[in-house]
């Protein structure tokens, strides 16, 4: 009981900060409405990029459009949720350049937690909505032989996918301490990763599988779990159950992320202010 109280007491500053962020974002109503609309449009256009391809062909990488909806829905929902909560790590280079990161060191909270809670972009909920709609459509349009195992994998896939993308943001944040000006280098893998995650990964060659299949385990956020749900064989002779390894992918990403963050923070020597 005492522990519970202290935990609650410890969480209070974060809750207060997050609530104030939420209020501040929705207080400029016109701007917030435009933000929500743009954010939803991001999701719609990402889906349109894929739909345009299927307008020309029936099947891509062995999957039809209704099946790719499931891949897109899973991956994009997880990415949007991670982007909403951890995407703020992208602002790190700005803090590093301006020297404002040092302020965070003065407060008695862990750096990463402060950075994550320093902003939460409510507008990105609209984009997550697009992913959720695509996911539901994908689940409804396909013949899935529902069983408790299918429900379990769906839940596991969403939780692990979210964790994997969140880990990617933290990994990128750690690398920023070294790159500073070269933030786009990590965008290649964070945002490139999102782009990769929504594709039918069966079209990738082996080097792409090495990078976006395993090292940055993007194929585990949507494609591989979706294949198991649909009962489709994975490519390159991978075993049927490979989609169940999504939690391992999340653990691997977070291992990289925390190592990268630790090296980054140790490397940092202050803004000289």
């Amino acid at each position: 009981m005492a522990d519970g109280l202290t935990l609650r007491a410890r969480m209070r500053p974060y809750r207060a900060v997050l609530a104030s962020r939420a209020r501040s974002q929705s207080s400029y109503r016109a701007s917030f409405a435009l933000d929500l609309a743009s954010s939803m449009l991001v999701g719609v256009i990402e889906l349109a990029e894929i739909w345009v391809l299927f307008h020309n062909v029936v099947e891509l990488g062995g999957l039809e459009f209704s099946q790719i909806l499931l891949v897109f829905g899973l991956a994009d929902l997880c990415f949007s949720l991670a982007d909403m909560t951890f995407g703020h790590c992208d602002n790190l280079p700005m803090y590093l350049r301006a020297g404002t990161l040092d302020v965070f060191y003065l407060r008695p909270q862990p750096l990463l937690l402060q950075l994550v809670t320093s902003d939460i972009s409510l507008r990105r909920l609209a984009r997550a909505g697009v992913g959720a709609v695509a996911l539901v459509a994908g689940l409804a349009l396909n013949d899935i032989a529902w069983s408790p195992a299918h429900v379990l994998l769906l839940v596991l896939a969403i939780v692990s996918g979210y964790a994997t993308f969140a880990g990617m943001f933290v990994w990128a944040g750690g690398v920023q301490f070294f790159l500073i000006e070269g933030a786009e280098t990590t965008n290649a893998f964070v945002y490139g990763g999102r782009y990769a995650a929504t594709q039918p990964a069966s079209v990738w060659n082996r080097p792409l599988w090495a990078v976006f299949g395993f090292f940055f385990p993007m194929a585990f956020t949507g494609f591989l779990p979706a294949l198991w749900l649909l009962g489709v064989e994975p490519p390159y002779g991978m075993p049927d159950w490979v989609g169940w390894c999504a939690p391992l992918a999340a653990v691997w990403t977070w291992t990289m992320a925390l190592l990268s963050w630790r090296f980054g923070v140790r490397h940092y020597q202050g803004g000289g202010g």
Binding site: S31, T185, A188, V203
Partner: protein, 269 residues
Amino acid sequence: MRATIRVYWRLLVAGFRRQSAYLMAAFGGLVANTTFGLLKVAVLFATVRAAGGELEGYDVALMSTYIWVSQGLLGSVNLFGRIDIADRIKDGDVAVDFLRPLDVQAAAITTEVGRSLFNLIPRGIPSVLIGGLVVGMALPDHPTAYLLGAVSIVLGITVSAATVYLMVAAPGFWLVETRGLQILYMVVSGFLAGLFVPIWIFPTWLEVVAQATPFPSMLMYPVDIISGRVDVSGALLLLAVQLAWLAGVGAVGQALTRAGRRHLEVQGG
């Protein structure tokens, strides 16, 4: 007249040189361009093959040219909607710019074009080389494509800078916060400019929508010309379309700047 040209030439060179200070950023951009390029190769090649080896005039080799030239132009064509003058309008510094004996709109666009032209060196050319060496690509049959293509690229860069000025920076005279517009621009421009998929494989209605905007003039038309997808007369037609968009976008931007100057409210003091 001569003095005016010299001033804008200096602004162009200053923009070019300023960008040369950010080599690490350019390298990061190149890594991103190449990674996205390889992913586009995988999915677009698969689409062409699934369509039977030819899709709306694109075979695998021409698709490769499209992918690598468009990736290469990504560092130069402004599809992100960020332009320095937008911040100056927001925080009121533009009041100082209005006191200078220069046109605010033309100066902002010229500086932006200078920066963009520099990016062709560390990002544009290497992207095309990497794509050509690693994946291979089709080359145009007639050498005029390179000349007309170069003109078209410069026009495309200028149209993009002028459009960002019009759609993101100039509304700042009336709105305090233009970040929403910037995001909206970023979302729409890439798709309609043909960055992810050539607009020629869009469904017809969407292709018409795209062509009714200045966005294909920024990326799709220059790529069409330099990849030799269109012949010389086709290229001249696309160049004329680009020029028309530049004139239109520039004129409306100029009108908004003049109206905005009368309306400008500098907050704080």
